[in-house]
């Protein structure tokens, strides 16, 4: 092996676990190139936020202090002169993203846990009855103008009567996997189809452009993801602990709170982070449901073009403050977030 030619030394791997120098160089070159593709846009936004208007307009300047003198004028304008106009959407975003994520993870985990551990049998007849009554309710409200809460209450009462009395006579039933598939399949539903009625719904009850409306909508949209991811995490927890606790007489709620949740903490963290970021980034639903009071950061940023044209220096500041927390979180907690993605995708 000693008298290898230069060509051989370049292109043949020295051992099974090592790479040939040429392919090593090529690998690094491609990876570094893509790292530049990823990082350069972020860098450009960051330095643009410290540029003066003429520096932006005169053409590309790449290095602060060498090519141009950085200035904090845009930051001062956004935070001091605009002040509340920036902070209010920011706080809205924080409140809405956090609250909706906490609610979605709580409700979704409960459902996911129950779907893993408890056997369900939903009679198809029950579902059919529910749909018929729902249709009748909508028909009654639109055609005869009956007050919607009265109609809904009557329909609900009829439904329970129906479900408890006749429901059991319909044989065919749906199991856990069907319920799970139904919950997850809601993800295929394009939000734009659902958002029109949601808009009208909130308009009816006077909740348009409020935190409540935004939180409720975001929670509902992210619920399928939570159920999907948490199901896999719960399924991975050994059942023995729960069974022994059950023999000791602990109630289900107690078992869930004291045994299952602590064990599922990594999964909860992954799901929480993923859903939080989705809620923070959401744009389309906010566009429909909020206009001013409940406006979130993506809306504020998107509206910049209309209000002040391509004033990149101000917009860069807004983009930086909108994405900085996300990027910091991504870098620090990358492993946890990626685990959420991986469980969802790898186990299907």
């Amino acid at each position: 092996m000693k008298d290898r030619s230069l060509f051989q030394r370049l292109f043949e791997p020295p051992s099974l676990t090592e790479m040939a120098p040429a392919s090593r160089i090529l690998t690094y070159a491609i990876l570094i190139l893509w790292a530049i593709v990823v990082l350069f846009p972020l860098y450009w936004v960051f330095i643009t936020s410290f540029k003066l208007p003429f520096q932006v307009n005169d053409g590309p300047d790449f290095l602060p202090f060498l090519d141009f003198e950085p200035s904090a004028h845009a930051w001062r304008y956004i935070f001091v002169e605009l002040g509340n106009d920036t902070l209010r959407p920011y706080m809205n975003s924080v409140i809405i993203a956090l609250t909706s994520t906490v609610l979605a993870v709580t409700i979704g985990s409960l459902a996911a846990y129950a779907l893993v551990r408890i056997q369900y049998n939903v009679k198809i007849g029950t579902i059919a009855g529910f749909i018929v009554l729902l249709g009748a309710t909508v028909y009654a409200v639109t055609q005869f103008g009956t007050p919607w809460h009265v109609t809904a209450a009557i329909a609900l009462a009829l439904f329970f009567f129906f479900a408890t009395s006749f429901g059991r006579h319909f044989r065919r039933s749906l199991g856990n996997n069907d319920i799970l598939f139904w919950i997850i399949s809601n993800r295929i539903l394009p939000p734009v189809v659902a958002v029109l009625p949601i808009y009208l719904m909130f308009q009816r009850v006077g909740l348009l452009d409020t935190h409540v409306a935004m939180i409720a909508t975001y929670m509902a949209v992210n619920l399928p993801i939570v159920v999907w991811l948490m199901r896999d995490f719960f399924a991975g927890i050994p059942i023995d602990l729960e069974e022994s606790a059950e023999i000791d007489g602990a109630s289900r709620i107690r078992i869930f709170a004291t045994i299952v949740l602590p064990l599922a903490r990594p999964g909860l963290a992954a799901t929480f982070l993923l859903v939080l970021i989705l809620a923070w980034n959401e744009y389309l639903l906010a566009l429909f449901i909020s206009t001013a009071d409940a406006q979130t950061m993506p809306l504020l940023v998107a509206a910049q073009n209309a209000t002040r044209g391509p004033q990149w220096w101000y917009m860069s500041v807004l983009i930086v403050i909108m994405i900085a927390p996300i990027i910091a979180m991504t870098i620090l907690l990358q492993k946890h977030i990626a685990r959420g993605l991986m469980v969802g995708a790898v186990k299907g």
């Binding site: 090592e18 990823v38 249709g135 991504t330 790898v346």
Partner: protein, 375 residues
């Protein structure tokens, strides 16, 4: 009621009753929320798509118009917007179309002679084939010569975007899955774009694509493109949207495929290397079969999400020039903004239909197959 108490089981305390019902209580909130925010709106939307919306004193009124909204979109005054303007088929279009028809015929022939014939399979294949051939015909008729509408543009984002993202993601994952130093740093850096707000990405790429003042201005000038405006040309505008979308979604493909590559059986790889198998051989016979199920799943997830694209075209190009970069969701939003709720719901339903057929077809005819080869 003394008679009733004889037949009922012994009385249970309130806490025990609660414990028995927890199963229902755990699932009920999620089911109720999904009914209220997904199924109920879906039904109302179906009704809305059949009505004409009018603002009236103290609210609004809806009048039933039947399928007129859909008629307007598919055959009437809005046809250019949804489907595009058509151009007669040339030789190239006919060649592609006939080749595709032959492929479909071969697919059915395989199904009939394969010995697994069943009626649901036939119906599923008929629906898939019909929709796919119709979409192909639409694409051929509008892209070469005519002007594609929002449906074809959405398909462009979905098909080209997802393939591009998958290709780049797979390539990076294979490179990063080797024994190299700094793997963790690359992993973290490559992951970032996925989490960045799409609206922010849209403006970021608008700044970068600025041909006079952006960072690449010198390069454009060197090519003599300094005065060229990408926003005024339909295809370059679509390309910029596509690049932004790709920048954001490559990380998703990358991170999941990297996990799959790292989980590959090491001994097989080493045995193949000892036997002197080439890189391509190793990829085809060892790597690909072991990552194919994961690949199918993430492509499916991406397909589902890709059909919903709206932030990038809306902010990056405002749907322009004209309607050139409008996706179906953006089309629906624009219809809503102009008080055309019926039209908006109809576009939304078109999107729902195309997305569902595409995703279910992919799952049944491609996704399932990769799982079988694994066994």
């Amino acid at each position: 009621m003394p008679q009733a108490s004889e037949t009922t089981p012994p009385r249970v305390g309130f806490s025990e009753w609660i414990d028995q019902q927890t199963g229902k209580l755990f699932v009920l909130p999620a089911v109720v929320i999904l009914l209220a925010f997904a199924i109920f709106p879906l039904l109302i939307s179906a009704y809305l798509s059949l009505t004409k919306f009018k603002l009236a004193a103290g609210g609004f009124s809806l009048s039933y118009v039947g399928l007129r909204n859909f008629k307007k979109l598919f055959f009437g005054s809005q046809q250019y917007h949804l489907l595009g303007t058509f151009d007669a088929f040339g030789i190239f279009e006919w060649a592609v179309f006939i080749a595709a028809l032959a492929l479909v015929a071969y697919w059915f022939w395989r199904f009939f002679t394969g010995g697994h014939f069943n009626i649901p399979g036939l119906i599923g294949r008929l629906i898939t084939a019909t929709v796919m051939v119709a979409l192909l015909w639409l694409t051929l008729a509008t892209v070469f010569g005519g002007h594609p509408g929002s449906l074809v543009v959405t398909l462009f984002y979905v098909l080209v975007g997802v393939s591009l993202q998958f290709g780049i993601g797979l390539g990076l994952a294979l490179l990063c899955g080797q024994a190299i130093r700094g793997r963790n740093a690359f992993r973290i850096i490559f992951f970032i774009p996925l989490m960045v707000t799409p609206v922010g990405i849209a403006y970021m790429f608008r700044m970068l694509a600025d041909m006079q003042r952006g960072p690449l201005a010198n390069i454009w000038q060197w090519f003599g493109l300094g005065e060229f405006s990408w926003a005024a040309d339909p295809w370059t505008a679509r390309l910029v949207v596509l690049i932004g979308d790709t920048w954001q979604w490559v990380p998703f493909m990358f991170i999941v495929l990297l996990a799959a590559v790292e989980n590959m059986p090491r001994d097989q790889l080493e045995a193949a290397k000892i036997d002197g198998a080439g890189g391509w051989q190793i990829f085809r016979d060892i790597t690909w079969p072991s990552i194919a199920p994961v690949a199918a799943t993430i492509v499916l997830i991406r397909l589902i999400e890709a059909f919903k694209i709206v932030d990038l075209p809306n902010v990056l190009t405002n749907g322009g020039p004209g309607i050139a970069t409008e996706s179906l969701t953006l089309h629906s939003f624009i219809a809503w903004r102009t008080q055309d709720l019926g039209g908006s719901a109809a576009v939304g339903y078109t999107l729902l239909f195309v997305a569902t057929v595409s995703c279910v077809s992919f799952f049944n005819f491609i996704g399932q197959k990769t799982r079988k080869t694994e066994l």
